[in-house]
């Protein structure tokens, strides 16, 4: 059984089942103000401090579209290589809930702002294209809080009316790794564009997951279940894993899958039925009469196109061509716009190969260890490029560089200063090295004899002794050369 590679197959009683996944991602639009009001969208403010009369649905209040959010949706559409619909319509999705002040959510139903597009995933066995069905704009609801007051549910409307992009994929995902890659790629594209910060902890990116299974070889899709509102990649994977196996069990026991909405319980690691198709809400969608159809012209779209930065796919291509990076290395370096910026800053002033290795090796290990983003890196790109130049010009060895790096992480110290202060400069004077080597040879006559009689492996011992005597500063390349001459 493999969950992670090209396809996720579940085997039961000699039957192989293929898992089919589609995602509806809700991405919060990066915007100072809400979709239809001027209230702030700042995260983590005091409850109900960012609520306008429109957000709280006071009588006679009317929505007015925030043009910035429209531009953000168009940008994202361009990033998804999608069709920009020149005419889209805002609809009302009607349902009652305490955190939905209007009694309806303004969304887009039949005529979304963005049509079909695609996302390219870089999987270990090559690229895979995931088709996007649509992207539409909608309002977020407020937040119901059930666990503060034992008697009452409290409502916080700060989030009410915040703009979301719902990005719907076709059922093209086939494994947990693809789900991971899809979310990361989507997030990366939106971060490049500055249209969504992709912060899953703050809820700016969440997803409804559609899962179905079918016997391998079947053409027809199985009945799907929708798992609502999952807010991390790990939970998405756990939910899919549970749900796919549940569906296979049902089918293997002779049952059939009911189309339904399910909830993922992160504590019990299981999905539970929320409501069946029969109980599904009738949202009574209809065009919002308070808003006119949104009409865009080519000129408007072209202007936005001109502001689109280089996106990950193009950047990757450029990195491979310009810097001769492997596709694997390029993928890592373009996955996040900040990483790519850091890389370009370092490599601008130093060796590209060393820059790649140091960023993906030592620096990533450091960021991981401290659980921080590259923007918070304790070592600046400027100082890292200086360190690389010290290695490149032979001033220090790679080994010494690692200890310099250890010192740099506290307070972003200039590596040149560290090398000078600690006297870590590599010993490259052949005469001095010869003195040390002579000393080592004269102190170890037995090993010299043994080496000369054929014990080649003892060469490493001599190198080690020389390094030790030089306090690790000896230029290893020269040590090798001189030692070979002396011993042979």
């Amino acid at each position: 059984m493999s969950k992670n590679n090209g396809e996720y197959l579940i085997t039961r009683n000699d039957n192989k089942y293929e898992v089919i996944i589609g995602l509806e991602v809700h991405a919060q639009v990066l915007s100072e103000s809400k979709l239809f009001s001027a209230s702030s969208t700042k995260f983590g403010s005091e409850p109900n401090t960012q609520v306008s009369l429109v957000d709280a649905a006071f009588p006679g209040m009317l929505p007015v579209i925030n043009e910035h959010c429209i531009k953000q949706a168009i940008k994202t559409g361009i990033g998804l290589k999608a069709k920009i619909n020149k005419r889209s319509i805002f609809d009302r999705k009607n349902y009652f809930y305490a955190d939905l002040p209007q009694g309806y959510q303004i969304s887009q139903y039949k005529n979304p702002i963005i049509g079909e597009g695609s996302i390219t995933l870089d999987m270990p066995n090559g690229e895979k294209n995931i088709r996007i069905e649509r992207l539409h704009l909608e309002q977020d609801a407020g937040k119901s809080i059930h666990d503060i007051d034992p008697q009452n549910t409290l409502v916080d409307l700060n989030r009410s009316g915040v703009a979301l992009m719902e990005i719907v994929s076709k059922p093209d995902l086939r494994s947990l790794d693809e789900v991971n890659a899809y979310i990361k790629k989507l997030r990366s594209i939106m971060r490049y564009l500055g249209t969504c910060d992709g912060n899953m902890q703050e809820g700016s990116l969440r997803a409804d997951v559609n899962v179905s299974v079918r016997k391998k070889g079947d053409k027809k899709l199985g009945t799907r279940c929708e798992i609502k509102n999952v807010n991390s990649i790990k939970f998405m994977q756990m939910a899919i894993d549970f749900e796919a196996n549940r569906q296979v069990d049902v089918i293997e026991e002779g049952g059939s899958i009911d189309q339904e909405t399910r909830l993922f319980d992160t504590k019990k690691n299981e999905t539970r039925s929320m409501r069946s198709k029969e109980d599904a809400h009738d949202y009574r969608y209809f065009p919002d009469p308070d808003l006119l159809p949104l009409e865009l012209n080519d000129n408007y779209i072209d202007k936005i196109k001109k502001d689109i930065p280089e996106l990950p796919d193009e950047k990757k291509k450029r990195f491979i061509e310009k810097f001769k990076l492997s596709p694997y290395e390029a993928n890592i370096l373009v996955s996040d716009i900040e990483i790519s910026k850091y890389f370009e800053d370092v490599s601008k002033n130093s060796d590209v190969k060393l820059a790649t290795n140091w960023i993906t090796g030592e620096l990533f290990a450091l960021l991981n260890e401290q659980n921080i983003e590259i923007t918070e890196s304790p070592i600046s790109s400027k100082n890292l490029s200086k360190l690389i130049n010290l290695i490149k010009d032979g001033t220090i060895s790679g080994k010494i560089a690692k200890s310099v790096f250890e010192i740099m992480r506290d307070g972003d110290k200039d590596p040149i200063t560290i090398v000078e202060e600690k006297g870590l400069k590599q010993q490259s004077d052949p005469k001095e090295l010869e003195n040390i080597i002579n000393k080592v040879i004269s102190e170890n006559p037995e090993n010299v004899e043994a080496y000369k009689s054929g014990k080649d492996r003892l060469f490493g011992f001599f190198v080690g002794q020389v390094m030790k005597n030089s306090g690790g500063k000896a230029n290893p390349k020269l040590v090798n050369e001189i030692l070979k001459k002396k011993l042979n």
Binding site: L53, A56, A57, F58, P59, G60, M61, L62, P63, V64, I65, R92, N94, F96, Y97, A98, P101, Q102, G103, Y104, T153, V155, D282, R284, Y285, F286, P289, D290, L291, L292
Partner: protein, 485 residues
């Protein structure tokens, strides 16, 4: 000098500007008369003390450049007024005090107007007789126990009874023109997009439009000029050049082509209405206008279309009255129970009926057959008018198929009540402007109105035609002050 309250709006403005009257004198005169007229039940909220204070402040430093210098005005209680209770005629908003001002009332305040009170209306403007108001029936000053029309029934009653020199209403399917017609006053429903809907309690967003109600066409032109403005707070507000409707008012209709739609000759229409219409046609001809027979073939479908579109939008617009955030809340076992009780107790029967109709026509499985079909028919109705306006400048019809009826007469027969709007709803569906002016009386002595329908944003033309008709008709309202003992 005649009674202050007998003066028309333009006359009052003139007298204040000439310092013949002070704002306080005028304000107190209308308030005194209003206080003697409680029997009409025209007011939901009286803002008298505050209004007198404001009038006195105005008099201390009068600004005569304003279009309504210190003029007292009572407004329909569908307009949200800052710090003044706004109920929409409903129990669910019984104690609601907005912290904001509707754009239309703000425009009035900006021109020096003073709000003396909030006027009764059908609950959420749903009704044609003011009988659906939670705050009780309104008397038509024309005769005891006669409805003043609706939904702007408090407005028409207060205006006809001279409790306010002018007023404002809202018209979704005839709610300004029908009550104007029933009370012998002038009412204008402007083009959709002319007056901002910001701060007006919504009934049916794609149809709602605020407009003036006045004693004559001149007053109407002045009020309209003040009310109409482009407003970025309303996405359906339209930016166009707004005329000086009063200065441009002109009774010359020579060469104007006036359409007479044959479909408006409905079966069973009283003879008086027919005669009234003929009278209007005759006046047009005598004044050099040209009468053109036209056809609006989809007129028959207007009422059913309206009673799908309006309730559909209303069912969604009224979802916000759920007891959670403001307004009336009933205690419930849980959230759903609280919703049910709040809305059951908070809304009246007519509102509930329309919410149910609206919910039904939007439901999956019925949407295409009702709502979508209605939207298509609505387009056809608009096309009818577009076609007609290739041949004519304006259209003349009766305002209503009958005069005012007795309170209670149609209360249990909603369909007969809905039929009252048969001549007015097509205009809302098409988004066009139309004015109703008093044109005669039926044999009971109740007023009857004629309606002039215009091209979109061509209010000036219908004001001019109405002005010409008004001059020739010289209508006199026979109001006896029967309610003042």
């Amino acid at each position: 000098m005649s009674n202050i309250t007998d003066l028309k709006l333009v006359e009052l403005v003139d007298k204040i500007k000439k310092k013949e009257l002070s704002s306080a004198e005028v304000t107190i005169a209308f308030i005194n008369r209003s206080q003697k007229s409680k029997k009409l039940n025209a007011y939901i909220y009286e803002n008298y003390e505050n209004a007198i204070k404001k009038a006195k402040i105005f008099d201390q430093k009068p600004d005569f450049k304003k279009k309504l210098p210190g003029i007292p005005i009572a407004v329909k209680d569908l307009f949200c007024t800052k710090n003044i209770k706004t109920t929409a005629g409903s129990k669910i908003l019984e104690n609601f005090i907005p912290t904001y001002e509707s754009t239309v009332t703000q425009n009035i305040l900006d021109e020096g107007g003073i709000i003396i009170g909030k006027l009764n209306c059908d609950e959420f403007a749903m009704g044609s007789s003011n009988e659906t108001s939670y705050f009780g029936n309104v008397q038509n000053p024309v005769s005891e126990n006669l409805v003043p029309g609706g939904s702007s029934g408090g407005s028409s009653s207060a205006l006809a009874a001279k409790l306010t020199p002018a007023t404002i209403g809202t018209d979704t399917g005839g709610s300004i023109r029908q009550p104007a017609s029933f009370t012998g006053t002038v009412g204008l429903k402007p083009t959709y997009g002319s007056c901002s809907r910001y701060g007006i309690v919504a009934f049916a967003s794609s149809l709602d439009q605020a407009g003036p109600m006045t004693h004559d066409v001149k007053d109407c032109s002045l009020m309209f000029q003040i009310m109409s403005s482009y407003d970025t707070k309303d996405s359906t507000s339209v930016e166009f050049k707004r005329e000086n409707y009063l200065n441009n008012l002109n009774e010359n209709i020579k060469g104007k082509k006036i359409g007479i739609p044959k479909e408006y000759r409905v079966d069973g229409m009283p003879k008086e209405i027919d005669e009234l219409w003929e009278k209007g046609i005759k006046i047009i001809k005598e004044n050099g206008g040209q009468i053109v027979e036209i056809s609006l073939p989809n007129t028959n479908y207007a009422l059913p279309t309206y009673y799908i579109v309006a309730p559909a939008e209303a069912s969604s617009n009224l979802a916000r009255y759920d007891g959670v955030k403001y307004g009336f809340r009933s205690k419930g076992e849980n959230l759903i129970d609280m919703y049910e009780k709040t809305r059951s107790e908070g809304f009246g029967d007519e509102v509930k009926r329309r919410i149910m109709i609206g919910t039904y026509v939007l439901s999956s499985g019925y949407y295409d057959a009702y709502y979508l079909k209605a939207q298509k028919v609505r387009r056809l109705i608009k096309n009818d008018f577009d076609e007609a306006y290739k041949k004519v400048d304006a259209i003349l019809t009766p305002s209503t198929p009958s005069s005012a009826f007795k309170i209670g007469e149609k209360l249990n027969d909603p369909v007969s009540m809905y039929l009252n709007d048969i001549f007015t709803v097509p205009i809302n569906l098409a988004g066009l402007p139309a004015i109703s002016i008093p044109a005669g009386h039926d044999k009971k002595g109740y007023p009857l109105g004629l309606q002039v329908i215009g091209k979109a944003f061509d209010e000036q033309s219908i004001l001019n035609i109405a002005f010409a008709l008004e001059k020739n008709i010289s209508f006199k309202n026979n109001i006896t002050d029967w309610w003042i003992k």
